[in-house]
Symmetry: C2
Subunit: 191 residues, 2 copies
């Protein structure tokens, strides 16, 4: 029962943090939406900060599941697998109304004032990059990318450019910046 | 006198918004830092939101001055002028302790909850892109970029990728993501 409540708060919190950001998220509003008695929040989470960090971890379980699915699809060549991960992410953004990326949002808002969030978000980007780099190495071995390609650097670059495009998508409520970035990146990387 | 105070609040506010973001910025702390009597804030600004928007406008006068200087330097070929704008921006980030870009920060934090900020930040990115596109068109005319290059699209792409790299710079307090993005972009654009 406690776990169900916690899970429910993490799910609701994930959507609310994406829209509102961290400082503008009212715990009272969250509990009201969850129809959970006021005052019970600190029964489930040590602090608002601890809650935010747990929401990021919850979000990352979904990201890793998405990476498993896309990068693990051996029917596609490795570069297509990488692209399909970002295309699936775009589809998730669409369902959410093009609000962009939770990591980018919280990273921007909080990394000037919270070491805990700064480190957490950076670690998440590194995890994602590391998994993409593995797939890029496979593309290099197959000759789909030039032999001299630095897979780690190219994976970081892709994640970073995606985040910039995701910000613009959030500002415009429009997926075009994501697609244009992917087209440019994959065209250029293979050249 | 009123104008001096307003100017001082905008300058201080720009630095504080970059570090703290919007919702975490305390007006009382701002006034204390400025050594201005509490309660006088609303004498100078209609609201915290109006203040935030004016800080963005103040920030943009600096951005446009930087664009004037870099893009107007006719001693350099157009692509080098564009790159020099971003290199000068990196230098500004360095002086601030690599906190990234104010537009990216406020855009991420606020565009889910404030139409005023969402529109304002989007408009700023468009202005910057428009000026860069002009310079890219010159590069196309000179043959420094392929004839079929879409200058507007390539300018938007550059601004967006820069923003993603700036987020990562903020997370890592490290300029490397900016440089790697510029190297990739200019190498690929000219190919």
């Amino acid at each position: 029962m406690a776990n169900d409540t916690q899970q429910q708060l993490l799910e609701l919190g994930m959507g609310m943090l994406l829209r509102h950001g961290y400082h503008n998220l009212g715990i009272a509003t969250l509990l009201e939406k969850a129809q959970i008695p006021k005052g019970s929040f600190y029964h489930h989470f040590a602090s608002k900060e601890a809650f935010g960090i747990e929401v990021i971890e919850f979000y990352m379980t979904q990201v890793h599941a998405g990476l498993d699915q896309s990068l693990g699809n051996r029917k596609l060549p490795p570069l297509k697998r990488v692209r399909s991960f970002f295309e699936a992410t775009e589809e998730k953004y669409r369902e959410e109304g093009y609000l962009g990326c939770l990591l980018g949002g919280l990273g921007q808002e909080l990394s000037g004032v919270s070491e805990a969030f700064r480190r957490k978000v950076e670690q998440c980007f590194r995890e994602i990059s590391r998994r993409i780099a593995e797939c890029l190495r496979e593309a290099i071995e197959r000759g789909d990318l030039p032999k001299k390609t630095d897979a780690d650097r190219m994976a970081e670059l892709l994640v970073n450019c995606w985040e910039g495009a995701a910000l613009r998508t959030r500002l415009r409520r429009d997926p075009a910046p994501l697609r244009e970035m992917l087209d440019f990146y994959f065209h250029s990387a293979a050249a």
